[in-house]
């Protein structure tokens, strides 16, 4: 029974991703891009889920790993002469590097993972709001350095002419692979230890869980996946600036995760696809389609209203019930009576 449910937890999201890919591949050219970009968003959101969902700690810094992944993959995919024309002071080892598509994605994942590990060693000691602010500080530092240090990247300029290799096959395989890795991690021993620590840090620590180490494992894995997502993103867009991987992306990916539901893979995938779809639809409606002609700016207002509404009236996310632990109501009441103030304290 539990094995069947376990598999369905993976099969559901994967099937959904495949369906979106299928729908997109038969759609017209302009719409197809929206579908591909939804799949890339889903990849990034699943990466974010690996850390936030399993650890219960909010990270505002994951777009840093997307950013370094995107720039790493972009820089190793562009010919030397072109790189030097954008940024003449580039370190020679970056300027000379030129590899194929798959290798560039691997490099993106590696750079994201290593960066996340280095950041995570000190930061994973924090939790709650301090962790939120510290990861936000990482985002600000990453953006500031990438933008102003011409030796490691294009600085404030645009890195363009990156080969657009993120076709349907690539983004679908990428998103599904990341979903499978996320699933495998959450079912593994480290994943379960971290989830235990999320539910009750004191009890987990008492049972010998090294919370710092488990969080670091998740953070590093999540950073590598986010870097990979960044690689997919740069190969989708063909060009990248530091502004595209900064506050807006941070907000939208976090909103996708929380709207869908932080604590399940389903939530991450549903949230990402739903919000992407809505965003694309509203952007089209602003240009005027099928009798709908919204004023410019209405997209953001509608999106903001929907996000706020979902968050206010369903704080656990759209699919929060789907994977709720199966506890009978009677048992739930008895558990609650044993710890009358648990809920208040936690909030």
């Amino acid at each position: 029974m539990s094995r069947v449910r376990g598999i369905s937890e993976l099969a559901g999201p994967v099937l959904l991703l495949a369906l979106v890919a299928l729908a997109g591949s038969v759609a017209s050219r302009s719409v197809a891009l929206e579908f591909r970009s939804a799949l890339v968003s889903a990849t990034i959101v699943i990466a974010l889920y690996v850390f936030v969902g399993n650890s219960g700690v909010v990270s505002f810094g994951h777009v840093s790993f997307v950013a370094v992944g995107a720039f790493a993959a972009g820089l190793v995919s562009v010919p030397e002469a072109l790189k030097l024309s954008v940024s003449p002071e580039l370190y020679p080892f970056i300027a000379r590097a030129e590899v194929g598509n798959a290798a560039s994605l691997a490099i993106a994942a590696a750079v994201g993972g290593v960066y996340a590990f280095l950041v995570g060693v000190p930061l994973m000691r924090l939790s709650g709001l301090a962790a939120g602010i510290a990861t936000f500080a990482v985002l600000e530092i990453t953006h500031n350095v990438l933008r102003n240090w011409p030796r490691i990247g294009p600085g404030a300029k645009t890195l363009s002419l990156v080969p657009e290799t993120s076709g349907f096959l690539q983004v679908t395989i990428g998103a599904v692979a990341v979903a499978v890795i996320a699933f495998a991690y959450q079912r593994s021993r480290p994943g379960r230890l971290l989830r235990a620590a999320r539910e009750d840090p004191a009890a987990a620590q008492g049972s010998g869980v090294n919370i710092h180490r488990q969080r670091l494992v998740a953070f590093t894995l999540s950073g590598a996946l986010a870097g990979f997502g960044g690689g997919l993103l740069v190969h989708l867009l063909g060009s990248i600036t530091t502004e595209q991987v900064y506050l807006d992306l941070t907000f939208i990916t976090l909103a996708m995760l929380i709207i869908g539901g932080v604590s399940s893979l389903w939530g991450a995938v549903v949230g990402a696809l739903l919000v992407s779809g809505l965003n694309s639809f509203l952007a089209e409606a602003e240009k005027g389609i099928g009798g709908l002609d919204l004023p410019t700016g209405a997209r953001l207002v509608t999106l903001g209203t929907l996000m706020a509404a979902v968050l206010l009236f369903r704080p656990g996310g759209i699919v929060s019930r789907a994977q709720a632990p199966r506890v009978s109501p009677a048992l739930a009441r008895r558990l609650a009576s044993l710890r009358p103030f648990a809920r208040e304290r936690a909030s």
Partner: protein, 293 residues
């Protein structure tokens, strides 16, 4: 003399951040809610000033306070369903509210920016022994100190203040003992509205160009300051806001000119160091805190 001028400028920025930080800390204290949408109170107030530039000063200021307080009370109604939510959900919801309000401002007024100049005479600088001190700096410090003392007195010396502290300490027990928590929360938002309106006034004098992200730009450093200073007390949080403003301004003057572009990195690296060294806050009494995730 140059060093003194640096300090004066730093105090100016610090007191501005402190005013914003105080409002955020007040709401956090009562509701355990980090209100990102606090910045949009400032933006709303600044647009209110922009719309009333033609009217007499007293009317402008009255409209400013009315608008900001109305926005604050509306925020309270909006976040009411959140009381049982997890801190992460709360954080992102107020972020979404802030995003929503920003997009509304963008829809109505566009991103170009509108000039809401008020009390321009406060911007003039007085020359005190070679130091340039703008009147608005003096006013900000005065208003900030006054509001801090006033709020502290209110919290410590009045019944509603006692109820607010009780609700902040243990919401459920306070409720069981007869504290009307709904009223307490509404009052906290009202107070935050007053603080935000005062902050808006000081802010608009110095930065008259109002854009949809006007308040949001200030909320980020103020929020960082609140966490760095220590969330649990109004004073420590306010001091944290001051410290971040002061530090940013001093570093901006001290850094060599070719390193100045990296100012945000230096500031945020310091923030990380402080958080690692003292996760419960720079200005809180050292004690072991069991962090709840």
């Amino acid at each position: 003399m140059n060093a003194l001028q640096t300090v004066v400028d730093a105090v100016a920025l610090g007191s501005l951040f402190a005013l914003v930080a105080m409002g955020i800390a007040l709401i956090f204290g009562v509701m355990r809610l980090v209100n990102f949408a606090h910045g949009e109170l400032l933006t709303a107030g600044a647009y209110a000033l922009f719309l009333t530039t033609e009217l007499p000063l007293a009317v402008s200021i009255a409209v400013l306070f009315a608008t900001v307080i109305a926005f604050a009370l509306a925020t309270e109604v909006a976040v009411r369903p959140l009381r049982a939510a997890s801190p992460a959900a709360m954080l992102v919801t107020t972020f979404a509210l802030s995003f929503l309000l920003q997009s509304v401002f963008l829809l109505v007024w566009g991103s170009q920016g509108d000039n809401a100049g008020i009390l321009p005479e406060l911007n003039r600088a007085a020359d005190v022994g070679g130091l340039r001190i703008r009147w608005v700096t003096v006013a900000s410090i005065g208003v900030g100190a006054l509001l801090l003392v006033g709020t502290a007195l209110l919290l410590n010396r009045t019944t509603i203040g006692l109820e607010m502290r009780a609700a902040a300490h243990d919401f459920r027990t306070a409720r069981l003992l007869g504290v009307r928590t709904n009223r307490v929360i509404r009052f906290a938002f009202l107070l935050a509205g007053v603080l935000a309106a005062a902050a808006t006034l000081m802010l608009v004098v110095q930065r008259p160009l109002v854009t949809p992200v006007y308040g949001f730009q200030l909320v980020i450093p103020a929020l960082v300051g609140v966490v760095v200073g220590g969330l649990d007390r109004l004073t420590s949080a306010t001091l944290g806001g001051f410290a971040v403003g002061f530090g940013t301004s001093v570093l901006g003057d001290v850094l060599p000119s070719d390193g100045r572009v990296f100012l945000p990195s230096v500031v945020f690296a310091l923030v990380i160091v402080v958080l690692l060294a003292r996760p419960s806050g720079l200005f809180t009494r050292a004690r072991t805190v069991v962090e709840r995730v």
